[in-house]
Amino acid sequence: MKAIRATNDFVVKFANVNGSGSASANELFAKSILRMGVPVSPRNIFPSNIQGLPTWYEVRVTEQGWLGRRGGIDLMVAMNPQTWDEDIAEIESGGYLFYDSTRPLPASKFRDDIHVIGMPLTAICNRTYADARQRQLFKNIMYVGALSALLGIDAAEIEKLFAEQYKGKEKLLDSNVKALHLGRDYAKEHLPGDFGLRVQRANAVGERIFVDGNSAAALGCVYGGATVCAWYPITPSSSLAEGFQKYCMKYRVDAETGTNKFAIVQAEDEIASIGMVVGAGWNGARAFTTTSGPGISLMNEFIGLAYFAEIPVTIIDVQRGGPSTGMPTRTQQSDMTACAYASHGDTRHVLLFPEDPHECFAFSAQALDLADRLQTPIFVLTDLDIGMNQRLTAPFAWDDTRAYDRGKVMTTQELEAGKYFGRYKDVDGDGIPWRTYPATHPMRGSFFTRGTSKNPEARYSERGDDYVYNMQRLLKKFDTAKALVPQPIVHAARQKTRFGAIYYGSTSPAMDEALAALDADGLHVDALRVRAFPFPGAVAEFIAAHDSVCVVEQNRDGQLRSLVINEFGIAPARLVPVLHYDGTPITARFIAAAIGGHMRASNVVPIESKVAHS
């Protein structure tokens, strides 16, 4: 029988029951490999439930640094009888199954083309521990121990992680170390020594940090100067607001007085959340809310008000599977259309698309600047895949000389000096008017903010020319935004090609890998990563420079593609949709097959053979 043999390049999947304490053990496993200097990319695949339902943790071990989901499983750690059959079916031929062999299973429950490693985990736990919860928790640590022995992970690295985690709790530390070694010793004694999958020390992690996008975005809001956060719990965004709370308690409490330089309100619903953000933004504080698709739907009326009355607002949308309640614990990029044109009437909004936690940090901070500069809602569109999974990412960076861009805010002195103030008048030619905070001057600069039409001096008006002036100015402002938002990044193929691909957000790591695979097959594709809407002209130029452009995204309807077609008036036939929307993160294999298939169907003959590469 074939046996997969791989070093620092394989996929392990843990099948667990949620609420069983497996999450921290599995994270420990992933981190121990990182500490061996080998990049990993783990993903939680979890149900909308607290206890008792199936949950999975997939760890891709990749010295080459491919952080996207690969597809296929080399080693399945099957700890959940409920999902046994589908878990066994998922293993690659020649792959491995690790399972709890306490209870015998009939041969029909296994496969002939996989290698089976049984360990009586429950039996060992039951004879070692009396307490039921301990039996459960240490069973998890024990399988981590056994796997570490099989794969060649240095026990010292795991012990170091324990020491960091249980600093000051020596009793817990000792019992965890003991469970780890119980697992390791059993494996060394009873399990096959020559295991096909190996972890070998490398130096491929570098300066990168390991963090989830929600924590990163929360920290970005702290650095970016958000003082007001109003939110309503919704998966997968809740941990962002909670992260903001955690970081604020640490970094935003005034050392002298013990008072808080932040206000976090868990509102009664998403409508109140966005309302509070609108109120705070109107009054000159930096404010944000975080939500997911259903929350965006609820916020629509206020988003229109903020657009029309020109109030700075930052909304971080951690996307999940829609429509309706959809797949609340699965990932998608399906809120793009809903955000780009949110609310009734003619509206358009600025959207930012971070690709990883590093950009979640940077773009969240930048969104707060852009909201003030452009006086409009700014959306940061992340998703569950980046938001709730730890990812290896470039370290966070901050320039201490950076001041917050508060935009065009007229001061008391300027008003006193008699500077003209017309709240909705375009005096600078960029479509952005000046504003005042309430209470700036006793007799000048006050105005009435409203969602109704108005003249440039903010007075209620139903005159057609006043309305059109305002709507045209808003378009001009949107045009101004094109140069202020993060610009697209082009990855050019090694040689000139008539094929292009456009992608964004969490698709990035899978795309990078797919491009390398296509290149290895002699298929050349130029790629452009869109990082914001409105699209700068470079996006249109990129499309114009190619005969055919695949638009790769994680939704059913090709929402980015529709936006591109709509904004540039491009013939739809030139844009080929490549769509993945089953709720799992998109994979390199999927992208390479789709783009490669399209190119081959267009009669592209690879001009170089693989041999020519090496």
Binding site: R208, I209, F210, V222, Y223, G224, G225, T227, A230, Y251, R252, D254, T257, G258, T259, N260, K261, F262, A263, V265, A267, E268, D269, I271, A272, G275, M276, V278, G279, A280, G281, W282, N283, G284, A285, R286, A287, E301, F302, L305, P395, F396, A397, W398, D400, R402, A403, Y437, P438, A439, T440, H441, P442, M443, S446, F448, R450, G451, Y460, S461
Partner: protein
């Protein structure tokens, strides 16, 4: 229709208050509401109260939702920033504005459609949180701007102008506010300015959620026989629990009353609300008794007005959140960004 400008000429003898403003400085644009609308009387009472309290007009933020009542902030305090938000959502916007700058006076103006129907949720939660504000509901039991539909405060059995009888139970905003923990609850009547002005003054000086339900008849759609929110009906059924004097902390209290007839309520800043009891047994310090009294009187068809409840030891949302004294909108990167050295440490802990 705020383009209608009022003449700016002031009579030179117009007196200034301690803040240096004349009463005219507290006015806004000419009202576009119907002649005789109760809401205009409330606007006039707000103007009077702010002028008498020497409040600098630009230090007030006036916020409203949508509806006839929500239009009124345009008609008073022309030097204040105003915000006409969306229907039923004034409370959340006011909450956010309040968080951004704790130093201003927040005046929320709403109606019974805006606050009791579409906005009941936001009304409830803003009161629960103890947002430091004056929340005035101009209550006429009817949707005026859409021409005469019942609102959620219309009494059971009351008749619309078109002759339809209301079969839904009414919401009692005052009862709700009491139950939700509002630390200042009062009811007034737009037709009784001597009662209303001191109520507004006391609400302004209160720290915490001050809720003021003002019965304000709609002359166009709800002032007919069969309505329980008409001028005639409210005048006949008005049962004032107390009479109120608002006494500035600086003024000497000179008038003498018989013992037991008066209750002094001292506010945070030393101001005193002096209540002259009209209902002998009524105490505005007892939330449960207030609720009982309201229910009893309401069962008899009476509309209880006056200061119904006040908590002298009230708190507000900023206190609950323990925020810094400096308004958030004055904090910059120096105060808010933890800096690159801290970020390096955060990075190190994530490796």
């Amino acid at each position: 229709m705020t383009w209608i400008a009022k003449p700016k000429l002031h009579h030179p003898t117009l007196t200034c208050n301690a803040a240096g403003f004349t009463r005219r400085d507290y006015e806004g644009a000419v009202s576009t509401l119907c002649a005789g609308c109760g809401h205009d009387s409330i606007s006039a009472a707000i103007i009077q109260a702010c002028w008498e309290l020497d409040i600098e007009p630009h230090r007030v933020a006036k916020l409203s939702g949508i509806g006839c009542s929500s239009k009124t902030p345009t008609y008073f305090l022309g030097q204040s920033h105003g915000f006409n938000t969306v229907h039923g959502r004034m409370p959340s916007v006011l909450t956010g504005a309040n968080l951004a700058n704790k130093e201003l006076l927040y005046l929320g103006v709403s109606g019974d459609g805006d606050s009791a129907s579409i906005g009941i949720g936001q009304f409830v939660h803003a009161i629960r949180r103890g947002v430091n504000m004056v929340y005035i509901v101009e209550n006429n039991g009817v949707y005026g701007l859409t021409k005469g539909q019942f609102s959620a405060t219309a009494d059971l059995g009351s008749k619309s102008k078109k002759g339809v009888t209301n079969t839904d139970s009414p919401l009692d905003m005052v009862g709700l506010a009491l139950q939700l923990g509002a630390s200042f609850v009062a009811r007034g009547f737009s037709g009784d300015k001597p009662q209303l002005v001191p109520l507004i003054k006391a609400a302004i000086k209160h720290k915490g959620s001050a809720f003021l339900d003002v019965i304000s008849p709609c002359v166009a759609f709800n002032n007919h026989p069969g309505s329980t929110k008409s001028y005639d009906y409210v005048r006949e059924h008005n049962e004032a629990a107390n009479k109120l004097d608002f006494i500035d902390g600086r003024d000497e209290i000179t008038v003498d009353y018989a013992e037991g007839e008066l209750i002094d309520v001292t506010q945070h800043d030393g101001n005193v609300i002096r209540l002259r009891k009209l209902a002998a047994s009524y105490s505005p310090h007892d939330r449960v008794a207030a609720m009982n009294y309201l229910h009893e009187r309401s069962a008899k068809g009476e509309v209880v007005t006056g200061l119904l409840y006040v908590d002298e030891d009230s708190h507000d949302l900023h206190g609950h959140l323990n925020t810094v004294p400096t308004p958030f909108n004055r904090l910059g990167a120096k105060e808010l960004s933890p800096g690159s050295a801290t970020l390096e440490k955060i990075n190190a802990a994530l490796r």
